[in-house]
């Protein structure tokens, strides 16, 4: 009897949160030479492309941040994220709902939440970063929550938090037509803190 109940529970649980049959690949971006991770499952396509801290520093210095603030964010394991609903536009397919607040970074024993945009913005306000810098930050980051209809995609920066060069796992949660889904990637490497001149030096 107990075994039967256990079996029914297992079926119900697996229906409630389908485990991913995901494809995960990792390669080097052909143009930049930076590492890229690509996760695909159901309608979801997620690409994470390393952003060297020097790139991110340059971007935010150019938007009006002071050096300390630009450096603080740049060293927080920043990736360029691209999310796409793989269902072709016009085709009947699920809406994808992403909530970064439910993603977790695995490093050590306790999975940690991603640093939230609101936390960064509080820091920028407290340190007196100009309004135009804060506006650029808001729109350059990947939105915390977003729904993707078939054919939609979006991009933006995601900060996972750990120091440059750290290796982490990423637990993903999303919804397809209201149904919860989960998956993950292991061995994601935070971009190393190499400067642009280091890169040029390597080429010479």
């Amino acid at each position: 009897m107990m075994r039967r109940i256990g079996g029914v529970l297992a079926i119900l649980l697996s229906a409630a949160v389908p485990l991913a049959t995901a494809e995960v690949s990792q390669d080097l971006d052909a143009d930049s030479g930076l590492a890229r991770w690509h996760f695909r499952d159901g309608a979801l396509s997620l690409e994470l492309i390393q952003r060297l801290p020097d790139q991110t520093r340059a971007f935010f210095l150019g938007r009006g941040f002071d050096a300390d603030s630009a450096d603080r964010f740049a060293r927080a394991c920043v990736f360029q994220a691209i999310v796409r609903n793989r269902t072709p536009a016009g085709a009947a397919g699920p809406a994808l709902a992403i909530d970064l607040g439910r993603w977790r970074v695995e490093r050590g024993d306790v999975p940690l939440p991603l640093p939230l945009e609101s936390e960064w913005q509080q820091r920028w306000s407290a340190s007196g970063q100009p309004k135009r810098a804060q506006i650029a930050f808001r729109w350059a980051l990947f939105p915390m929550q977003q729904v993707f209809q078939p054919g939609d995609y979006n991009w933006g920066m995601i900060a996972l938090g750990p120091a440059p060069g750290s290796e982490v796992g990423l637990d993903l949660v999303w919804h397809e037509n209201g149904q919860p889904r989960q998956g993950g990637m292991q061995g994601v490497r935070c971009p190393p803190d190499e400067t642009v001149s280091d890169q040029l030096g390597d080429e010479r």
Binding site: Q80, A89, N154
Partner: protein
Amino acid sequence: MRRLGVCVFGLWMLAMAPAWAAGGMGQGMTPLPDRPPAPEIDLVDLEGQRHTLAQHRGKVLIVNFWATWCPPCREEMPSMERAWQTLKDDGILLLAINVGETEDQVWTFTSNYPVNFPLLLDQDSKTIEAWPVQGLPTTFVIDPQGRLAYRAIGGRAWDDPVLLEQVRELHDAASH
């Protein structure tokens, strides 16, 4: 000095590289079945001309939110200009609202991406905050009654005949 310029350009290219490399466009537009009213716009364009939604009521309007540093925004701009050249004689309008940047930054951008449709300035981001936008670029098509008819999240090839047809159908429905 020239070397400094090359270095700055190189740094900027590198800063943008991963996003360019990822590239790609979205497809189609999502119809908004309940067609909510479009939030108000009251902004000035690069020529100093004021634009409000009320003054454009009765026409189909494409409203695009963008920024110069946003790679998919730049990628879709040339196709948006081609779409504009195709649609403008039908009385369809296109407004591209830049978010959070200065007039100088947008002027500089237009030297590399020349466009003829109005580029509006939302420097304090108050307008975009009132619209249902989460990321850049996002584009809406507004029907002649001032309602949000379609939405596209991410860049598009705006001269795609399928997209143009969706926009024209809204215009034709209002004309008949």
